[in-house]
Amino acid sequence: MSRQADFLAEILPDLLFGFPGQRPGGLVLSVVLAVVGVGGGLAVGVAVGSALDARARALRLAAEAYVTVFRGIPLVLLLLFVHAVIGSGRLPGLHTTALGSAFVALILYSSSYQADIIRTGLRSVPAGIVDWARLMGSTRWQVYRAVKLPYSLRVMQPALTGQGITLFKDSSVVVIIGVAELTTSARIALGGDVGNAPFWVATYLTVGLLYFAVAFGLSRLGLAGERRWRVRGRIDMVAVAE
């Protein structure tokens, strides 16, 4: 039993922060991957989601194709594809590291889900609020920027939080291109050594626990935030409507 504890104590810093000389890695890098994926994805997702709700048909169709493609294929396949295209130097002047490819793939993947969420949000804006803002003399663009977009981000906050947590867990598949986040770190720590076989269960339980702690913690935080936002959000929107 104490051998188990010793082994875990030895690899825990690697699982949390990455291996010495390759930090940040481990759980920290998993969080970084999720943050970049969610942040970058939101920027793209707002654009694509707005295009999904656009009046121009061509724009809508292009956005629809984007969402269908990136939501319809497994993330692990998308990662390998992106890395094969931009990580191999096959395109002139473009050669990313595995981490760069992971960022790009996660943003593409995340944005397709976020776009769909934002479209739903944009469609849920009460027509009265939009009409009112238009009557006050605002242009379509102003209404979109000052009313529709903030409103949809706010009502869709729970869905966006959930999507972010899902992305954090899904980021484990970057092990396929060797980005040294939590899952990859566990794999490296156990290595090919048959002598490490007794430690597999304890190691993967620890990895599961670390993912669980962050994902479950974030979802609880999201719930708490939701409660606060809901009250404030409602008052703000009433203020807009009046």
Partner: protein, 246 residues
């Protein structure tokens, strides 16, 4: 142009596709059963049952599917001493039978992948089911009770079908996600589509072409599942109007 898609490669990919479809069908059925069972326990079980179901959902939803699959495939067997391990997981009459039926060389890994996917997807479905149960009209339950239905009958004839109906669009999305997640079985040596694609890449060095082809196949599978589940949704709502109960 199609020099890389030799009959040999195409055959490998077709074999992989069969395994992917089999994994998808199996885990769709088992996840639905698990999700409905745990979801029902969570909605209308006793206090302890509800707690246990809630803990199950949180644990298996919040740990990545990949970690669960690797755990059951590689970590779990290694908890057993070497001699017992071989007999228990890789070399016994049951495994031999599974081997000859499925044609897989290491059927335990496929089983482990199914187990991991089922626990993960089942937990997600249980949560959706709970949300769906909230859409079942109180008046409908009361009416059934008044007409003399027992709690068990109300549960399985009113609440469960109603919850599945209410949550079906979200269930559809999750089941398609589960289909995509079968690609994770490639990490534990299950020769499904994504694994055969990777094997073909090492033979032909045509990564972009092969991955694009696989992407198209997965898109096709997702579209086919979407259509099939849409039909199921229509069937579930047969003889009902779609107006939400007030």
């Amino acid at each position: 142009m199609s020099g890389w898609l030799t009959p040999e490669v195409a055959g490998q990919l077709a074999d992989g596709l069969v395994v992917t479809v089999a994994l998808t069908v199996l885990t769709t059925i088992s996840s639905l059963a698990l999700g409905i069972g745990v979801g029902a326990a969570r909605v209308s079980g006793g206090r302890m049952t509800r707690r246990a179901a809630g803990a199950f959902v949180e644990v298996f939803r919040n740990v990545p599917a990949l970690i669960q699959i690797i755990f059951w495939a590689f970590a779990f067997p290694s908890a057993f001493p070497t001699g017992i391990r071989a007999t228990l997981f890789f070399d016994n009459p049951v495994v031999a039978a599974a081997e000859s039926v499925t044609g897989l060389s290491l059927p335990y890994y496929a089983f482990a992948a199914c187990l991991g996917l089922t626990l993960n997807t089942g937990a997600h479905l249980a949560e959706l089911f709970r949300a769906g149960a909230g859409t079942v009209a109180r008046s409908q339950v009361d009416a059934a009770r008044l007409l003399g239905a027992g709690p068990r009958e109300v549960q399985w004839s009113i609440v469960v079908p109603g919850a599945v109906r209410g949550a079906f669009p979200a269930i559809t999305t999750r089941l398609i996600h589960n289909m995509k997640n079968t690609a994770l079985a490639s990490f534990v040596a299950v020769p499904e589509l994504f694994q055969t694609v990777q094997a073909s890449i090492t033979q032909t060095f045509r990564a972009v072409e092969l991955l694009a082809l696989a992407a198209a196949v997965y898109l096709g599978l997702a579209a086919a599942m979407g259509l099939a589940l849409q039909r199921a949704d229509v069937w579930l709502h047969r003889g009902r109007d779609r107006v939400a109960p007030s």
